[in-house]
Structure formats: structure tokens, C-alpha cells
């Protein structure tokens, strides 16, 4: 029973969505309900995740075998989680921009000069401190690691090992240079324009390969979905071999 009920739920909801795709005018209402459930369930699931995160981190922090650096990481995690939740609860997530007039007195001259300055600042510590001053730069820093890793990965990967690798090497070099002004600047010296070649590689050769994978992936997706609907695929429910 433990297996059959999930399979039945999968089959019924899956069929509702598929039937709706092909008969949209008739089954619209039922599907809307299923979709709303989906949104509600996924919103509530976050609580489950946070609880698990807190429990696992607390356990790791308190366990005597945990390494010191691991322990510090877990403490930082719990503290920042609590801080974010509390500040967010108190101040809300919308920025409260306040515009104010300030009188500025300049005493450098014989007579003080008074000027009026219009300034606006965000009053909400959630958006101004947590979102813009902490979360914003941290996320950007993680994403920018990509630049470093792309350089080191391409240093290792692009080598003229055989004919295919050499072709890949040249195609990649043309695209890398063609996407930036310097490529046209360098090739402009010998009267060549590299960006159209780069565009051709992306729009024709690349797109052809992409389509092949996309179509194969699309068919693979349909088949896996059908396997789920027919109950053939059960390994995600922990089926034995």
C-alpha cells in the first residue's frame, strides 16, 4: 500500500495535467485547483527545509566529533538564519525609502552658508542592510567566481589532443574573441571582422547541436513521464531491484 498510493496520486494528477493540455477548454477548472495546490504545497515545504537545516546544524554544532571549522560554519549559519528571520519579521521586506530635506551649514567662510540638500535613504534594515549590503555582494561574489573558474577550466580543457579537440579549440577561440570589442580591434588590423564569424558559429553550428540534444532530451522527458504515469519507474519511491 505504501507504494501503491503515491503511484496512484502520481498517475491521477499527471493524467489531469496531460488531459488539460490537450482539452484545455473542458478541464480548465480542475487543473487550476491542482496548480494552486502545487503552489501552496511548495510554499509550505520551505518550513520543512528550514526545520531540517536547524536540526542538522544544531546537531553538528553540539556533537563532540565535529571539526572546529565545521562547527564555526554551522554556528554562523544558525545565527544568520535567526537574524534574517527576526529582522524580516519586524521590518517587513519592502524598502521604506524616505525623502527628507536637510539644512547644511558651511562654516568655512566668513559668513556661514546654508544650503538645502534633498536626500533619500532606505529606512528598512532588512532591505538596506541584509539585502543590499550583505546578501547582494555575497551572491555577486559567488557568481563572479565563474570568471576565475572558466579561465582555469579552459586552460585545462582546450588542448589540441586530436582533430575534434582542435576544431573545438578554434571554434571556442573565435567565439571568445568575437563577443568582445577587442576581437574586432585585433582582427580589424588585418582587415577582418570576427564578430560575424562568431555569430555564425553560435547561430548555426551551435544551434544545430543544441537542437539535436534538445529533441533527444524532449523525447527522454516524455518517456520518463510516461514511465512514471504507468508506474514502470518506481526507483524514486525507493523500489528494489
Amino acid at each position: 500500500m505504501k507504494r501503491e498510493i503515491p503511484l496512484l496520486i502520481t498517475a491521477i494528477t499527471g493524467l489531469i495535467i496531460i488531459i488539460n493540455y490537450f482539452l484545455p477548454e473542458i478541464t480548465g477548472g480542475v487543473t487550476q485547483v491542482v496548480r494552486t495546490w502545487n503552489i501552496i504545497i511548495s510554499s509550505f515545504a520551505i518550513i520543512l527545509g528550514i526545520l531540517n537545516l536547524v536540526i542538522v546544524s544544531l546537531r553538528k554544532t553540539l556533537e563532540p566529533i565535529t571539526h572546529l571549522d565545521d562547527r564555526i560554519a554551522n554556528i554562523v549559519l544558525i545565527l544568520s538564519l535567526i537574524a534574517t528571520i527576526i529582522v524580516g519579521m519586524i521590518y517587513g521586506v519592502n524598502s521604506q525609502t524616505e525623502t527628507s530635506l536637510r539644512f547644511i551649514t558651511d562654516n568655512r567662510y566668513a559668513l556661514p552658508i546654508i544650503s538645502i540638500e534633498l536626500s533619500s535613504f532606505d529606512n528598512n534594515p532588512f532591505t538596506s542592510v541584509i539585502f543590499y549590503s550583505i546578501y547582494n555582494p555575497l551572491s555577486a561574489a559567488m557568481f563572479s567566481l565563474l570568471a576565475f573558474f572558466i579561465a582555469s577550466a579552459s586552460y585545462r580543457a582546450f588542448r589540441a589532443r586530436n582533430l575534434e579537440a582542435t576544431l573545438l579549440l578554434f571554434a571556442a577561440s573565435i567565439v571568445i574573441l568575437g563577443r568582445v570589442p577587442v576581437g574586432d580591434l585585433i582582427f580589424g588590423l588585418v582587415g577582418l571582422k570576427i564578430s560575424p564569424i562568431s555569430e555564425y558559429i553560435t547561430a548555426v553550428i551551435n544551434a544545430a547541436g543544441q537542437r539535436a540534444i534538445m529533441i533527444a532530451v524532449g523525447i527522454g522527458t516524455i518517456i520518463i513521464s510516461l514511465k512514471l504515469l504507468f508506474g514502470i519507474e518506481r526507483s524514486h519511491l525507493g523500489k528494489g531491484e
Binding site: 477548454e25 579552459s154 518517456i223 526507483s235
Partner: protein
């Protein structure tokens, strides 16, 4: 309800969107082929099929074995998408195989997850696998744990885990975005064997550059069937190939006839070809 009105409601979407009919045809075709094969297997008429070797899947055992020898844990990342993504489901199918190997070899298993629903499902799968391997004593509930839904927050968390725990094998299987290379390069830097698999086309080059083995696109979906000993599972691969053949034939015929039509419109008057031309030209979007 009036029958004519009902028919109108069924019919009208197909007039508005001609592609809907083709989708229905493809779905029906695949379902029929799949069911024919399942019937053939069940009646015992089909007992074996040829499947080409997929090196990435054959290397799973080797990777887990290496971790055992070195006394290092196995790290499994199921992508950053939720359970409704088919790649996550494919990854979870593979998870049961990988975690069972870990249980058999008594290797530590770590799985940080970025979606809480995926976490619940994955915990269940890993638990079952340990039970099946007869090592439920080794299973711990915090083997699978939630980190964060945030893309780069998750990447940072996993990078931290990789550099602290130094896993011997890293599995990056599922749907990935820009964090793919960040994870794979960190895994490379600690010298782990890396097995990746994704259908995200733009992330494939990154994985190919930084990982030892890669499941490319549909290979990911074929993985659970490939590793399964059940013939009904395996037969879905044959269905996939036949469906691909159908699409390939349609592409070749359609583009040939459309190209000839551009050069010589007279072709549309020849019987049979005019029907194919009509079908293939409606598939072109303007």
C-alpha cells in the same frame, strides 16, 4: 451539455494552435510503442536488447570503491531544481543505485539538497537503499539535509562542504545553472572523481571540462533503465530510440520538401507530396 457545443470546445484549441495536434500524435505514438514493448516483454517474446555502453554509469562502482579505499565520503548533488523537474527525478532514480553501493561498501554518504521536497524524497530513497543492502545500522537521518533554495547560497554551502569534507567522489546529477562550474571546479581542486549528468545544454561544456565522466542529455534519462536489471525498465530505451527515429525521419522529409518547395513551388501539386508539404509547412512558425 449539448454534444455539438462539447465537440466545439474540444475542437477549437486545435484550430487555434495547430502544433497541439502534432504533440498529441507524438504522445500517442510513444505511448503505443511503449505499451507494445511492455506487452512483448510480459509475454516473454523479448528477453534481451542491446544497449550501448555508457562509461559514466559503469564508473559509479569504481568511484564509490575508490572512496572506500581512501576512507573519504561520497557527495551527491541532485541539481538545484525542485521535484517537478524531470531531471531531478532522473537524478533521484540514480540516487538509489549510488546510495546502495555506498551502503554495501560502508562508505560515508553526504547529500546537501536545495529543495525541501527533494530532501524528503531523497531521505526516503537513501534509507530504503541502506535497508536493501542490509546496512540500516549505518544510515543516519542527517545524511540528506537541506541547505537553501538560493542558487549561489547553495553553491557556497556545497563548496564549503567539499573543501571541509574532501569527498573522494562527487556526483553532480540533475538540473544545474551557472553554479555548475563553481561546484565542479571545487570538486576538481580536492581531487575527487567527478561524475556529472545533466540535460541543461549550456552547462554541459562546463561539466565536460571539469569532470571525469559526463552523462550527456538523454543519457541521464536512460541511466535508471541502464542500471536496472528489470527488462521492462530497459525496454523504455528501445521506445526512446524508435521515437527518435520517427522524429528524425520527419525532420529529413519535412525539411527536404520545404526546401524543394522554395525552389520549385510546383511540387505542391504532386499527390501525396502535397499532403506532406501541407503538414510540414504548418509546423513552421512565422
Amino acid at each position: 451539455m449539448d454534444l455539438g457545443y462539447l465537440w466545439y470546445k474540444i475542437y477549437i484549441p486545435y484550430v487555434e494552435n495547430k502544433l497541439l495536434g502534432y504533440s498529441l500524435f507524438l504522445l500517442a505514438f510513444i505511448s503505443v510503442v511503449l505499451n507494445i514493448y511492455v506487452a512483448l516483454v510480459r509475454s516473454g517474446k523479448l528477453t534481451s536488447i542491446y544497449i550501448r555502453k555508457i562509461p559514466a554509469l559503469n564508473s559509479i562502482e569504481e568511484a564509490v570503491g575508490r572512496c572506500t579505499e581512501m576512507g573519504k565520503p561520497v557527495l551527491y548533488i541532485p541539481g538545484i531544481q525542485d521535484i517537478d523537474n524531470i531531471q531531478t527525478l532522473a537524478s533521484l532514480s540514480l540516487l538509489s543505485y549510488v546510495s546502495q553501493r555506498c551502503a554495501e561498501y560502508e562508505t560515508d554518504f553526504i547529500m546537501p539538497v536545495s529543495r525541501s521536497v527533494v530532501m524528503t524524497v531523497a531521505q526516503e530513497i537513501v534509507k530504503e537503499s541502506y535497508l536493501r543492502a542490509g546496512r540500516s545500522d549505518l544510515y543516519k537521518s542527517d545524511m540528506v539535509f537541506y541547505l537553501t533554495d538560493d542558487q549561489f547560497g547553495y553553491a557556497a554551502g556545497v563548496d564549503g562542504i567539499i573543501s571541509r569534507e574532501k569527498p573522494g567522489a562527487v556526483f553532480l546529477i540533475g538540473a544545474f545553472y551557472a553554479e555548475s562550474l563553481i561546484l565542479a571546479e571545487t570538486g576538481f581542486s580536492v581531487g575527487a572523481i567527478q561524475i556529472a549528468g545533466t540535460a541543461m545544454i549550456t552547462q554541459l561544456p562546463f561539466f565536460i571540462a571539469a569532470c571525469d565522466y559526463v552523462l550527456i542529455g538523454e543519457e541521464l534519462f536512460a541511466a535508471s533503465a541502464y542500471l536496472s536489471r528489470d527488462m521492462i525498465d530497459k525496454i523504455t530505451l528501445r521506445t526512446q530510440d524508435i521515437s527518435k527515429a520517427l522524429v528524425m525521419i520527419a525532420i529529413v522529409i519535412g525539411s527536404t520538401i520545404n526546401s524543394i518547395y522554395i525552389l520549385n513551388p510546383g511540387i505542391a501539386k504532386i499527390p501525396i507530396i502535397n499532403i506532406i508539404h501541407k503538414i510540414s509547412s504548418t509546423m513552421l512558425l512565422r
